[in-house]
């Protein structure tokens, strides 16, 4: 069970805490069931600490993050699925706490900008290259024999 487990001695909140920093995840929070605990850690990584600057609750030292971590574990122990837990937290703290915005509504713009841009750009590049090749193909043999003779005359002058 070697999942990536993130813990951070938080950068942003450290100055507020004075000389005794807290560890992000406390040993007493850890669930006895390693499968549930691993799910809890994964969920904690996609939830944003509501009072910090861009930290997830797994890294954060703020007390609200600890509350949220405990809340996640409580819901998991109660038998919630991962998405149930996220819904539960989002209902209470707003979508601000989701680090991965829901792919629905206006957020679809966010999610589909990349793929749409790729398709458009590849299509555009394809048409561009083809049209340039056509231009070359039609431009090259444009001179007839008569024109070539005329060109030679002009160049001689």
């Amino acid at each position: 069970m070697l999942k990536r487990l993130i813990v951070l001695l938080a950068l942003a909140t450290a100055p507020l805490l004075g000389a005794a920093p807290l560890w992000a995840v406390q040993p007493d929070e850890v669930l006895p069931d390693p499968v549930l605990e691993a799910r809890a850690r994964e969920l904690a990584k996609v939830l944003r600490c509501p009072v910090c600057q861009g930290e997830n609750i797994d890294e954060s030292n703020a007390s609200i993050s600890r509350d949220l971590r405990l809340m996640v574990r409580e819901r998991l122990v109660a038998g919630d699925s991962d998405s149930d837990v996220l819904d539960y937290i989002t209902n209470r703290y707003g979508e601000y706490v989701l680090f991965e915005p829901e792919a629905a509504g206006a957020n679809l713009i966010l999610w589909y900008t990349g793929p749409a841009a790729l398709v458009l750009a590849l299509g555009g590049a394809f048409l561009f290259i083809r049209s340039r090749r056509k231009a070359e193909a039609t431009a090259a043999p444009a001179l007839s024999d008569a024109e070539n003779t005329r060109l030679a005359e002009l160049l001689d002058e």
Binding site: M1, L2, R4, L5, I6, V7, L8, L9, L11, A12, A14, P15, G18, A19, A20, P21, W23, V25, P27, K45, V46, R48, Q53, G54, E55, N56, E59, G94, E95, Y96, V97, L98, F99, E100, P101, A106, N107, I109, L110, W111, T113, G114, A117, L118, A121, L122, A125, F126, I129, R130, R132, R133, A135, E136
Partner: protein, 653 residues
């Protein structure tokens, strides 16, 4: 007194920059040689004046002159000399001064080494460069003056943020700025070319080395920052998708795209207007980065001096420069007629695909970074976009890029056959698949990330080796005699593969252990037996430290003795962790010591970080590859050739 001289030099530099921005531009427009020639001495004078000003500020920091508000807020007499100097740019005002110093340095370099450029182009490049300089000098003088005095100088300063007191971070900002600002040269060349109305191979030959240099600096700067995060923050994270990190990543992606499209302009005289657009955008994203870091509009853990007034000023600069350049582009890009024609399957097309993937990846990062702002302004929604989004939305483009890279790199110019281009790569493909299979077999968990990352990373490495082999005509003796550009290309592409492997295996396989360790009681993490042998208190120059001694045993054999530290900097009352890292080829053992516990013992964190150092090794290889390419003969030969025959450039029409 020295500080006032520095302030005065800065004001003079502002005046010189204004002259340099206007006079050569008019000269080039009217064809007046004398006016055009003003650019060169002005660029030198501007650089020397800003250097004097920067020197004055550095002097104030070195001598701990606390009558300067900036020194008081960011320095302390007990601070080691390295960090007194690094403190000059460890804050908003000083870092802006470094920014304009580098900007004028690039301008001066263009003046000194640009003797072979057509005079009108050189005059315009210097004028555009100076207009950026003037704008930022004005920004410093009017909103962020570093030379403000305090009426009553205090006895001592507030010290630099202890997290920044680290050699990796001392040199991270200068490299990053060299990269950001280096892109201003590409921008100035692009705008000058638009005004001039001509882009040709010679132009691209000028733009490429500047872009390459900027990209090398950005690579080093980003690498140093990420390495610093890895060992200093105490948990071994190396990339956070934080807005400020994204701000440096977007110019890096676009600079990489520009680097490649400029090759097409240089060799084949195609993709001219696209290259110009990229040059404008790459510097535009540098400015956006500056805006993000310094305005505080987007919250970030890196919050620098966030100040709305400064934000508005930079936003106006951004609008003027990027908006102006894009307007000019819209008006003049039609004049950039391409010459080279190429087939659907060709090196040119492969580089177009490279550009599309890099540009779209940068777009994804950009949209993700500003989306919280957009959502709040448009719908009043407060939402967050973080690492999970970027990992999902950004990674696919990088995977595609890596898949096509070795094939495109081997393709001939103009017209190619797909089968013939792929054929020499079959051994590389087989090797990469075997690496993927091996990764799957030895992995302690069945991770798809490890499989794909290691497979694609080794595909890049073997692909780069194949290319060296093919270029040398399949003769081992000739490989060493290949031009440096070929070696540079292979190193940079192989380096990307090394980084790819590092990121994938670290992400897939790392493990962590958090516990209370009692002195003398061993514990085991992922096959390593670790013992906390002792803990002592040590007094540093401006901090006190709790130092642990920990031994690591593998199969009963002692393999490392490590000393993790926890420091407290009393002036800022801030603790920092100094992790002990035992670096190995296949991964790091990473130890962090925490506070003593009530029941005895110390909180200890152990991380096993497989292949972590491959990430930065790969970045170093990429930078090295860039340097090799930059030192290639053809730039030196080409420069010499143009000196003999200047003005050889022909209009593109």
């Amino acid at each position: 007194m020295i500080a006032e001289l520095g302030h005065f030099a800065l004001i003079l530099a502002f005046g010189v920059a204004l002259i340099q921005a206007i006079v050569p531009m008019i000269g080039a427009w009217q064809g007046w040689r004398g006016w055009m020639a003003v650019g060169e001495p002005a660029a030198t004078a501007q650089f020397l004046l800003i250097a004097a000003s920067f020197g004055a500020l550095t002097y104030a920091f070195v001598t701990s002159d606390f009558s300067l508000q900036l020194v008081f807020a960011n320095s302390h007499t007990d601070k080691p000399m390295l960090y007194k100097v690094a403190g000059v740019w460890g804050n908003h005002e000083g870092s802006m001064l470094l920014w304009v110093l580098i900007l004028s340095g690039f301008g001066a370099a263009a003046a000194w080494f640009g003797g072979a450029l057509p005079p009108s182009l050189r005059a315009r490049v210097l004028a555009v460069q100076a207009s950026i300089g003037a704008a930022f000098l004005g920004f410093i003088l009017f909103t962020s003056n570093p030379f403000v005095r305090l009426v009553q100088p205090p006895f001592n300063g507030k010290d630099l943020n202890p997290l920044l007191q680290d050699p990796g971070l001392a040199f991270h900002p200068p490299f990053l700025y060299l990269g950001y600002v280096g892109l201003s040269m590409a921008f100035s060349f692009a705008v000058a070319a638009l005004i001039e109305g001509r882009v040709d191979a010679a132009w691209a030959r000028w733009v490429r080395p500047w872009t390459l240099a900027a990209w090398i600096f950005l690579t080093i700067g980003i690498g140093l920052g990420s390495w610093w995060a890895y060992y200093e923050l105490g948990w071994g994270g190396f990339w956070f998708w934080d807005p400020v990190e994204n701000a440096s990543f977007m110019p890096w992606l676009l600079a990489a795209a520009l680097l490649h499209s400029a090759i097409v302009v240089e060799k084949r005289e195609a993709l001219k207007s696209w290259t110009i657009l990229l040059a404008i955008l790459a510097f535009g994203f540098s400015l956006i980065g500056t805006f993000i870091v310094r305005s505080g509009v987007i919250t970030s853990v890196h919050s620098f001096a966030s100040d709305p007034e400064r934000g508005v000023y930079i936003l106006v600069l951004l609008a003027v420069f990027v908006g102006g350049a894009l307007t000019l582009y819209a008006a003049r890009a039609g004049a950039m007629q391409a010459k080279g024609v190429f087939g659907m399957v060709s090196r040119e097309s492969a580089l177009v695909v490279n550009n599309i993937l890099l540009a779209v990846a940068a777009l994804v990062v950009f949209v993700g970074t500003i989306w919280p702002l957009v959502a709040e302004m448009a719908w009043g929604r407060k939402l967050s976009v973080g690492a999970p989004f970027f990992e999902k939305a950004f990674t696919p483009f990088m995977l595609l890029l890596v898949i096509v890279l070795p094939i495109g790199a081997l393709m001939p110019w103009k017209r190619a056959g797909l089968a013939r281009a792929v054929q020499p790569l079959i051994p590389a493909m087989v090797l990469a698949l075997s690496v993927a299979a091996l990764t799957w077999a030895i992995g302690t968990n069945r991770s798809a990330i490890a499989l794909v990352g290691a497979g694609l990373g080794s595909w890049l490495i073997f692909g780069a080796l194949t290319e060296l082999w093919v270029r040398s005509g399949r003769k081992a003796a000739r490989i060493t005699r290949l031009p440096r550009a070929d070696w540079g290309k292979a190193l940079a592409h192989g380096g990307l593969g090394v980084t790819f492997i590092g990121i994938a295996l670290l992400t897939a396989w790392d493990s962590e252990d958090i516990r209370v360790a009692k002195i003398g009681e061993p514990f085991t993490v992922a096959g390593y037996e670790i013992t906390l042998d002792g803990v002592e208190e040590v007094q540093g120059p401006n901090y006190t430290s709790t130092v642990g001694t920990m031994s690591v045993r593998e199969n009963g054999k002692l393999t490392a003795v490590m000393h993790p530290e926890k420091r407290v900097y009393p002036v800022q009352a801030m603790p920092t962790t100094e992790a002990a890292i035992d670096q190995r080829f296949t991964g790091d053992v990473y130890l962090v010591i925490g506070d003593p516990q009530l029941g005895g013992g110390f909180a200890v964190r152990t991380y096993i970080k497989p292949f972590a150092d491959w990430i930065w090794t790969g970045l170093a290889l990429m930078a090295l590859g860039g340097m090799l390419s930059l030192s290639d003969r053809r730039y030196r030969v080409a420069a010499g050739a143009r000196k003999r025959a200047p003005l050889a450039a022909t209009p593109a029409e």
